[in-house]
């Protein structure tokens, strides 16, 4: 794992050690370039790079997707976007999801990972169970939780009935819905983060821990001053995935709330879908895409520069 992260930061290293077999490389270089590169290059350009560029272009137009974009309106789409209450909610919700991940999900993942690091019976089974929600499709997980939260037939109805309180319809309550969604996100993804930390813990040098023990460090101290600092790079990777995951969250929201009630659970991508795709407002939807792109790229570069420098 640590090896893998090391290679990640320098993918474009110049091949200095491999320049020795120079003569055979000249022969037969052209066929391999002509045959091997175009499939990937063509697909990637056609379906990733060009659409991204087109999103930037379309975002300057009012366009319903038919004919060609002609009605140029400058930056008006962005103006509309940032004055839109639902889009503000979406941005706040994306922030909340990241916050919940930092404050609840990652601590939970670290806690479970350290518990599973003990040599106990059944550790492998627990690990499997915790990872299981991550392999399920977001859509299925969303529907399962829609059932759990259902006020008439679901588990929440039964729990409320057991305590004799009025059945809460959490997903229909515009103040509660987002917290219900956050709980599902944590349920779905904590196992993935836990796996990252299990791998990170395996790379921690046992001798350091032993030395700390000899020096008299006990449980929590050992964790706080030895293990946690050594997990630094894993924490950063985990945070990175939490942020990326939040920014592209869509599949889980649709079966749960579809962004409602009253836009209370919109994220940027559900907003793009509801306002851009469903209403075929190509310009506005593309503007959301551009905002998302700018955030993603800023994060990717900024994060790498600030936090991954030492890895």
């Amino acid at each position: 794992m640590t090896h893998a992260t090391a290679t990640m930061t320098a993918p474009s290293a110049v091949p200095t050690a491999k320049t020795r077999y120079k003569s055979p490389t000249v022969r037969g270089r052209l066929p391999v370039l002509i045959l091997f590169l175009p499939p990937a290059l063509l697909l990637f350009t056609l379906f990733v790079i060009l659409p991204m560029g087109e999103a930037a272009w379309y975002s300057l137009y009012r366009w319903n997707g038919y004919g060609s974009p002609e009605h140029f309106i400058g930056l008006r789409n962005f103006q509309v976007l940032f004055n839109n209450a639902a889009f503000s909610t979406a941005l706040i919700n994306n922030g909340l999801i990241i916050l919940a991940s930092l404050l609840l999900q990652i601590p939970l993942a670290i806690w479970l990972a350290t518990m599973l690091a003990h040599k106990i019976k059944g550790a492998v089974t627990f690990r499997l169970i915790f990872f299981l929600p991550y392999v399920l499709a977001d859509v299925a997980a969303g529907l399962i939780w829609r059932f759990v939260y259902d006020g008439d037939y679901g588990l929440f109805a039964a729990i409320a009935g057991f305590f004799g309180v009025a059945t809460p319809y959490v997903l229909a309550d515009k103040n509660l819905a987002i917290y219900a969604v956050l709980a599902v996100i944590i349920w779905k993804y904590f196992g993935f983060h836990m796996m990252l930390f299990i791998a990170g813990l395996q790379a921690v040098d046992k001798n350091v821990l032993e030395a700390a023990e000899i020096d008299g460090a006990r449980g929590w101290q050992k964790f706080r001053y030895v293990t946690l600092p050594l997990l630094g790079s894993t924490v950063r990777i985990s945070v990175f995935f939490a942020i990326i995951g939040s920014l592209q969250l869509f599949d889980l929201i649709m079966p749960l709330t579809g962004g409602g009630p009253l836009n209370a659970t919109q994220t940027m991508v559900t907003f793009l879908y509801t306002y851009g795709v469903m209403r075929m407002q190509v310009g506005l939807g593309s503007a959301v895409g551009v905002v998302l792109f700018v955030i993603c790229v800023t994060l990717a570069f900024g994060y790498k520069r600030i936090f991954m420098r030492h890895d």
Binding site: T7, P11, H118, L132, A137, I144, D152, G289, L292
Partner: protein, 282 residues
């Protein structure tokens, strides 16, 4: 040494604390899943009063009706076809490109790699509207290829990175020996690189299969006719149709996630390693 000493020193209290905490979390994970599977056996009336427990009467018909209808199987076959084609094209296109980027020296190789790595930085949703218009203009709307090609394209960045790092770590002596013997690049790729790359082919395949099998937004936008829907779309339609009959929806959910759960338990080691390795290396 340290391991044995800590396990000996672990007190009964610690042990109880560990098992109680772990079991509690495990219950939180499993209860919704088990309740879903059991709910499929209940009647709607029983679901209302007893969503947690075992069904008083096992209604097999909920499950059997779905299994003997063609809807469920059609969606599974659609998903399988899309996923298999996505995996195949992703592996072929990215292995070939990564091989070139790893071993052939040409002007702009590093720039080209960085170009592909741009794909790692943003999700497909970002460009979904222009992508929809492109697919429409190519006449691929409402076809499997309209789903497969964008999925392959968005998987390329990660797959090329994984393949390239792997190819570069293969022993260099292999190249020298092969090239001295007059082996060309293409034969080298086919007869030496690929057979040695089974682990990384498995990793890339697992990542792209799981992504495609679970993917929702791309097929949602590209497909119109229900006969072509993969299961995540189909399950949403089913839920829309039988919205209030939760027992049927629960049976349908259970049957659609069953293949994932079975494969996961059969190949857990590979799947966990593949998904986390891919994530970390990305």
């Amino acid at each position: 040494m340290t391991d044995t000493s800590t396990s000996i020193r672990m007190s009964a209290g610690t042990r109880i604390y560990l098992y109680v905490s772990l079991s509690l979390v495990a219950a939180l994970v499993l209860v919704p899943l088990v309740a879903t599977a059991l709910g499929g056996f209940k009647s709607l009336g029983e679901l209302r009063v007893n969503p947690f427990g075992l069904p008083r009467e096992w209604h097999w018909s909920n499950y059997l009706d779905i299994l003997f209808g063609d809807r469920y199987w059609r969606q599974m076959v659609n998903s399988l076809f899309i996923a298999v084609m996505t995996v195949f094209l992703t592996v072929v296109a990215s292995a070939m490109a990564a091989f070139t980027l790893a071993h052939v020296k040409f002007f702009g190789a590093n720039q080209l790699l960085n170009y592909f790595l741009i794909g790692l930085m943003f999700p497909a949703a970002t460009a979904i509207l222009p992508l929809f218009i492109r697919i429409r203009d190519l006449g691929l709307l409402d076809t499997y290829w309209g789903v497969i090609l964008p999925q392959v394209a968005f998987g390329l960045g990660m797959s090329i990175l994984l393949f390239r790092n792997y190819f570069r770590n293969l022993p260099e002596e292999l190249f020298q020996a092969a090239f001295v013997d007059g082996c060309g690049y293409i034969r080298f790729f086919w007869h030496i690189s690929l057979p040695l790359s089974r682990p990384i082919i498995a990793t890339v395949s697992i990542i792209s299969f799981v992504n495609s099998w679970n993917s929702y937004i791309v097929p949602l936008i590209m497909l119109n006719s229900e006969t072509k829907y993969p299961w995540p779309l189909g399950i949403m339609v089913y839920r829309g149709e039988f919205g209030t009959q939760w027992q049927l929806v629960l049976a349908f959910i259970t049957l659609t996630i069953l293949p994932t759960i079975i494969v996961f338990f059969l190949a857990q080691k590979h799947i966990i390693a593949g998904l986390t390795a891919g994530a970390v290396k990305g």
